[in-house]
């Protein structure tokens, strides 16, 4: 090995060691773990206790269902909202644009615990949301104790937190569409609404797909919101997600084998759904 190369590796070694120990090794080891029965004192090879259990465990099915439900409702709503927000933020008639852009991006910067605490207060039985509902002549909703309402709170919270973030990404895509394309369409007599659907949306497709993929991956790993806002996936297991289920199995029941199998399932699902999105978004000549 040449001296230069050796020196380079010498400098890289500390990082590579940390990377191997705390990144590659756990990933590889958890794959092995996912085949072990970790419920007994001596861990033995028994994939039926892990991968096999996935197929029959109603708690896993519940967590998977909850995660997919959030995914199917929250991601499209949020991306649609983000697209509309991006168009509004891009509007030349909007005053104080910089301020608005920051304001919509800000939720991402807020600490998870602080934001979760805020949502718990807002949707508390005596919180301001219920106060407003009652003031508007509606009945108050037991947000955190009704299974469906709790799910709605999770979806609302997620949308609040990430819509602005996605809007900023989509805004960047919007700004890369040259103005004169719209001018040409205006001269062609194409209305603003049609310009949006026939020019803006098709040209934004790659950016929107990127946002969808990022959101899908994020949602598949969803943990903080159900842990913090609906108190560990409550009421009951109504808002338990795959991430939370993994945590409960791994660090509640110390069933590392099963938790590892769940982890790999989450990864595989995220990859599969993302690939599907990319494939659907591919331009077909």
């Amino acid at each position: 090995m040449r001296l230069r190369t050796r020196t380079a590796y010498a400098f890289l070694t500390p990082y590579l060691l940390v990377f191997l120990t705390f990144w590659i090794w756990p990933i590889a080891n958890s794959f092995w773990l996912s085949f072990l029965n970790t419920r007994s004192a001596n861990w033995t090879f028994n994939p039926r206790m892990t991968w096999g259990r996935l197929l029959v465990d109603p708690a896993f099915a519940n967590a998977l269902w909850n995660t997919l439900l959030i995914l199917v409702i929250q991601v499209p709503v949020m991306i649609a909202l983000a697209t509309v927000l991006a168009v509004l933020l891009n509007s030349p008639i909007l005053k104080a644009r910089g301020l608005f852009r920051f304001a919509f991006f800000a939720p991402v910067v807020v600490g998870e615990v602080a934001y979760a605490a805020m949502f718990r207060l807002l949707f508390n039985e005596f919180g301001i949301i219920n106060k407003m509902l009652v003031a508007a002549g509606l009945t108050s909703i037991p947000w955190l104790s009704d299974p469906n309402a709790a799910m709605a709170v999770i979806i609302i919270a997620l949308t609040w937190r990430w819509a602005g973030y996605n809007a900023i990404i989509i805004l960047a895509g919007l700004q890369s569409i040259p103005e004169d394309v719209y001018e040409a369409a205006t001269l062609d007599g194409v209305s603003k609404v049609r310009q949006f659907f026939y020019i803006t949306l098709p040209l934004l497709k790659p950016v929107i797909i990127l946002c969808v993929v990022i959101s899908v991956i994020g949602t598949m790993q969803l943990f903080s919101e159900p842990f913090l806002i609906t108190n560990r996936g409550g009421p009951g297991q109504a808002t338990e997600t795959l991430g939370l289920f993994l945590y409960r199995q791994g660090f509640g029941a110390f069933n590392f084998g099963y938790a590892s199998a769940v982890a790999y399932t989450i990864t595989a699902l995220a990859i599969a759904i993302s690939l599907l999105n990319l494939w659907l978004g591919k331009e077909r000549e």
């Binding site: 394309v181 369409a185 007599g189 026939y198 040209l203």
Partner: protein
């Protein structure tokens, strides 16, 4: 087809005026070129005609109708952009038909118009391609095609050839001239390239800093410029300017002494008012209006920097004794490589201190 007239058109961006009252008549079927350096307001003027910019004051009339408040699509115009502005996600065919499809035009008619435009521009074999699969010249054809399908009364071109390489530019210039002949439609064309202006235009409008400096036929501007700016802008290589001052004036004109040329006098006949004795003036001489020593009105001895031989002709880059740089056009045989040559001024233009032509 339609005539276009601008009546005292003013454009301000905020408080910044960019066009100060432009008035202009464009006849039906005429090819008019707006030319001027960057920032002179020529594109703004074109965009106001298109309706892409509001008019601060004045009136734009297309086909006998005031269009100040008429939507761009309703003005009977079509525009070709410098950047082509094609819809990147659509095929050539979709690009051409998009406007017609979106406005509910009859399907068969759309098809007919698209194939006619494709025939005119010879792009029929490109119809299924997307813009990124086309060369610059092909994209420009598609952009022009998109204008043709609209059957406009007036074509607007905003520096359409600026993004093309030199060879293609000449080729497309000829194409546009052919198109004008074929369609016979009014065309307004913006460029900063005076060669394009000279070769394409029936009428050139020279703009500077938001003002129309002169309007006229190409050769009229070339041979009879109203001011020093137009004289310098039209023609390539540009007109030479030599400073001088008036040493004698009589009822026939003035006699000048050229800067740095003691004893070299140039008589300029004038029919209009003559400048004051001793006042500073500028003499304009086109490169081809220098001749051999002793054969003109005044002789200059200049030191030669560089000689460019183009084959049919040669350009001598030289400086006068006063340090003024000149470009002299000569035959290849007589373009001396010597350090000094003597040239004669055979024809010249006189401009006063403000740059206005003295006739």
């Amino acid at each position: 087809m339609a005539a276009v007239s601008l009546n005292n058109v003013v454009k301000k961006f905020g408080s910044l005026p960019v066009v100060h009252g432009a008035s202009l008549e464009i006849a039906d079927g005429e090819f008019v070129v707006f030319v001027g350096p960057s920032g002179c307001g020529k594109s703004t003027l074109l965009r106001m005609i298109a309706g892409l910019e509001d008019i601060t004051d004045g009136e734009i009339v297309i086909g006998g109708k005031v269009v100040n408040d008429v939507e761009p699509a309703e003005r009977g115009i079509a525009m070709v952009f410098q950047s082509y502005a094609l819809y990147p996600h659509m095929t050539v065919e979709q690009n051409l038909s998009f406007g017609l499809r979106m406005t509910g035009n009859d399907k068969a008619d759309t098809q007919r118009r698209v194939s006619r435009a494709a025939d005119i521009l010879r792009i029929s074999e490109l119809m299924q391609r997307r813009p990124r699969q086309l060369s610059g010249g092909q994209r420009q054809r598609v952009a022009i095609g998109r204008a043709i399908v609209r059957n406009p009364q007036v074509f607007l071109f905003d520096e359409p050839l600026s993004n093309l390489d030199a060879e293609l530019r000449v080729q497309m210039r000829v194409e546009i001239a052919r198109l004008h002949k074929e369609l016979g439609v009014t065309m307004i064309y913006v460029t900063h390239d005076q060669t394009e202006a000279m070769t394409l235009a029936d009428k050139i409008v020279v703009l500077r800093a938001g003002n129309i400096e002169q309007i006229g036929r190409p050769l009229d501007l070339y041979y009879d410029p109203d001011n020093q700016f137009v004289a310098g802008f039209v023609g390539s290589p540009k007109m030479n300017f030599i400073r001088g001052h008036v040493v004698e004036r009589n009822d026939k004109g003035v006699i000048l002494e050229l800067a740095g040329e003691d004893g070299t006098r140039l008589a300029q006949p004038l029919t209009g008012p003559a400048p004051e004795l001793g006042s500073h003036v500028t003499v304009g001489v086109r490169p081809e209006h220098f001749g051999d020593a002793g054969k003109g009105d005044a002789d200059l001895t200049v030191s030669v920097d560089v000689v460019e031989h183009l084959g049919g002709t040669s350009f001598v880059y030289a400086a006068t004794a006063a340090g003024e740089e000149l470009v002299i056009q000569r035959d290849a045989a007589t373009a001396a490589d010597a350090a000094e040559i003597t040239v004669s001024i055979r024809k010249s233009y006189l401009f006063d201190e403000k740059g206005l032509r003295l006739r």
